[in-house]
C-alpha cells in the first residue's frame, strides 16, 4: 500500500498525486504514440474510434455523471456535429475552423435545449431529450438539399497544407491530440469551482442554491459543454465513417452513449475511458458470438439492442458505479490483502436526487 505524505495543499490540486501515477500515465501516452507504427491498420482504426467515443463520452459524462441531468438523445448532438462539419467543410471552410464551428454549433443548440430543459429533471428530461433526437433525425432525413437525406452525404477527404488528414495514421494522431486536450479540459473543470457547482446541482439543487450556485447558469453551461464535446466527436466520426446517413444517428447510438457512461461508471473520469473501451469492444464480441449461436438466434436483427439493453440493466442493478467502481474494489482488495473487508463499499442505498419524487 502506498501512503502519500501531503505537505502542501497543491498536492490535492495537481493532476498526479505521486510519481507512480506520472510513470504509468506517461507509459500509456508513449504506448499510444508508438502504437500506430507497430499495429495493423485495422487496430489503428479501432483505436481512433475509441478516441472518438472517449470525446463523446466526456461530454455526456459531464452532463449525466456530474450534473445529474439525464440525456437520452445525445446521438442528436453527434449528428449535428457530423453534418455541420461535413457541410461546412464541403463548402470550403478550412478543416480546423470547420471542426471548431461544428463544436460551437452543437454547443449552441445544446444551450437552447439546456434552457428549455431547465424545469425538467429525471425521467421527464430523458423523454424530452429523446424527442429532440427524433426531431433532429427527421430534420436530417427531410432536409435533402443540404444533408442528402437517405441518399447519404459523402464527407470530403480532409486535406490541408498538403497533409492528408484522412490517412489512418495522421487521423489517429489528430484524434489522439484532441482526446488528450478534451480530457484535460474536463479534469480542469472538475477540480475548479464550476465543476463543484455541477456536482452540487447533481446532489442537491436546494442546497446548491443556498450556497449561491446559479442553477440556470450551471445547467445551461453543462448542456452547452456536453453538446460541444459530443458535437466535436461527431465531426471526427464523420471522417471515420466517410458517408453520413440519418440511420447512423438513431436512438441506438444514444443508448450506446448512455451505456458508455453507465457501464464506465457515473461520476468518474476513468469511467469515460472504460466505458468507451467497453462499447468499442462489445460489437466485436457480439459478432464473434454470432458464430456460436444457433442460426435462428444469430440471424435475428434485434440481437445487438437486446445485448445492449441487458448489459445496461445488469450494471444499473448490480454495479451502479460501473467498471470504474469494480476496478476500485478489485484494486483495494489487492492493496489491503489479506485485510480487505467485504463491507468496505457497502453504502446506504441512494438514488440520484433528480430521480426522486419530491
Amino acid at each position: 500500500m502506498r501512503f502519500v505524505l501531503k505537505t502542501k495543499y497543491t498536492q490535492d490540486i495537481n493532476l498526479f498525486l505521486h510519481n507512480g501515477q506520472r510513470f504509468w500515465y506517461g507509459l500509456l501516452m508513449a504506448a499510444l504514440i508508438l502504437a500506430p507504427f507497430f499495429l495493423e491498420s485495422f487496430y489503428v482504426g479501432e483505436l481512433t474510434y475509441l478516441f472518438i467515443w472517449v470525446i463523446a463520452g466526456a461530454g455526456l459524462m459531464l452532463l449525466i455523471g456530474y450534473t445529474g441531468l439525464v440525456s437520452m438523445g445525445h446521438a442528436a448532438f453527434m449528428a449535428i456535429g457530423a453534418y455541420a462539419h461535413a457541410v461546412l467543410f464541403k463548402l470550403g471552410v478550412p478543416f480546423f475552423p470547420s471542426l471548431l464551428m461544428a463544436a460551437l454549433i452543437s454547443g449552441f443548440l445544446g444551450a437552447i435545449i439546456g434552457v428549455a430543459a431547465l424545469r425538467m429533471t429525471g425521467i421527464y428530461l430523458a423523454v424530452a431529450t429523446i424527442s429532440f433526437a427524433f426531431i433532429i433525425e427527421k430534420v436530417i432525413s427531410a432536409w435533402r438539399p443540404v444533408t442528402g437525406g437517405h441518399r447519404g452525404f459523402i464527407v470530403p477527404e480532409p486535406v490541408m497544407f498538403g497533409v492528408d488528414f484522412g490517412s489512418d495514421i495522421v487521423f489517429y494522431f489528430l484524434c489522439l491530440v484532441i482526446v488528450t486536450a478534451v480530457m484535460l479540459l474536463v479534469i480542469n473543470l472538475l477540480r475548479s469551482p464550476i465543476g463543484r457547482a455541477m456536482v452540487a446541482v447533481r446532489d442537491s439543487e436546494i442546497s446548491a442554491q443556498a450556497m449561491g450556485v446559479n442553477l440556470v447558469q450551471t445547467k445551461t453551461l453543462a448542456f452547452t459543454l456536453s453538446a460541444a464535446f459530443t458535437g466535436l466527436a461527431g465531426a471526427l466520426y464523420s471522417h471515420k465513417i466517410g458517408m453520413l446517413f440519418p440511420e447512423n444517428f438513431t436512438i441506438l447510438l444514444s443508448i450506446k452513449l448512455l451505456m458508455l457512461v453507465v457501464v464506465g461508471g457515473l461520476g468518474s473520469v476513468h469511467g469515460i475511458v472504460f466505458g468507451a473501451m467497453f462499447i468499442s469492444i462489445l460489437p466485436q464480441v457480439i459478432a464473434i458470438l454470432r458464430d456460436f449461436l444457433p442460426t435462428w438466434l444469430a440471424q435475428r436483427r434485434g440481437l445487438e439492442p437486446l445485448v445492449f439493453g441487458s448489459i445496461l440493466l445488469f450494471f444499473l442493478m448490480y454495479e451502479p458505479l460501473g467498471l470504474y467502481g469494480r476496478w476500485v474494489k478489485i484494486r483495494s482488495y489487492f492493496t489491503q490483502f489479506p485485510l480487505y473487508r467485504k463491507a468496505t463499499f457497502k453504502r446506504q442505498k441512494s438514488y440520484l436526487r433528480t430521480e426522486r419524487v419530491h
Binding site: I13, N188, L189, P193, V199, I206
Partner: protein, 252 residues
Amino acid sequence: MSIFAAKEIGVSFGGVRALHDVSFNVEKGEIFSIMGPNGAGKTTVFNLISRFYDLDQGDLFLNDERISNIPPHEVAARGIARTFQNTELFENETVLQNLLTAHHTHRSTSFLSEMFFFPHVRRQELAFREKVEDIIDLLDLQSYRDQRIDALPFGARKIVELGRALSLEPQLLLLDEPSSGLNPEETEDLSFWIEDINEELGVTVIMVEHDMNLLGQVSGRVMALSDGELLTIGTPDEVREHPDVISAYLGD
C-alpha cells in the same frame, strides 16, 4: 442598527396560511431564536429568507436593502448562509469538497479560465483551501476531511453542514434546528460553537430551535410563533413564561 428586518411577512399555500403578519428585527451581533410547536411556520420563515418561497405580503430587508425579490442564489452572495433541518449536503462528495463548494460566491474566475486552469485559478483554489482548513480546525473536522458524506453518522453531518454554511463567510447565519438528532454531549459542543461563531467571527445568527436549554444558553432574544402568527418576542425566560406560549404548547 438592525442587520435584518422582516416587515409584516406572510405566505399561504392554497388555503393554508403558513405565516401571517410576522415582523421582527435582528440586531447586528445578536443570536435570535425562533421557537414554536410543529407547523408554527418556523422553517417557513427561513425558506422565505432563502427565497425558496415567494412572499405573499410584506418585505425582507438586509442592511436596509430590500431582498424580497432577489433570485435564490443571490441570497448567498449577499452573505446569508443556512443549514437545513435534516441536512442537505452533497452526499457523494467528501467533506472537503462540500466546504469548498461554499466558496462558490467568492470565485473571481470564469469557466473558461477554469477549463485551462490558469495560474490564478490555482491560486484561488489554494486560498479557498486555507480558509476551509480554518473552519475544519474550528469545528474539529480533521478526521472527516476526506470522507464521503454518505459514510458519515448523522451527528457529524450536522456539524459538516454548519461548517459548510460558515465557509460561505456569511454575515447572517440561519440555523434550522441545529441540535435535532444530536446527543446531549454533541449539543453541548454545539452551544459553544455557536457562541464562538457569534463572538469570534462576528456572525449574526438566527436559529430555529426546540431545545429550551440550548435556547436559554445562547440566545439573546426569542420569537415564539404558533399557527403562523407571532406570539411574542423577548428574552428566553420571558418567552418561556408568557401565557400565550404556554397555551400554544400545552393547550388551554
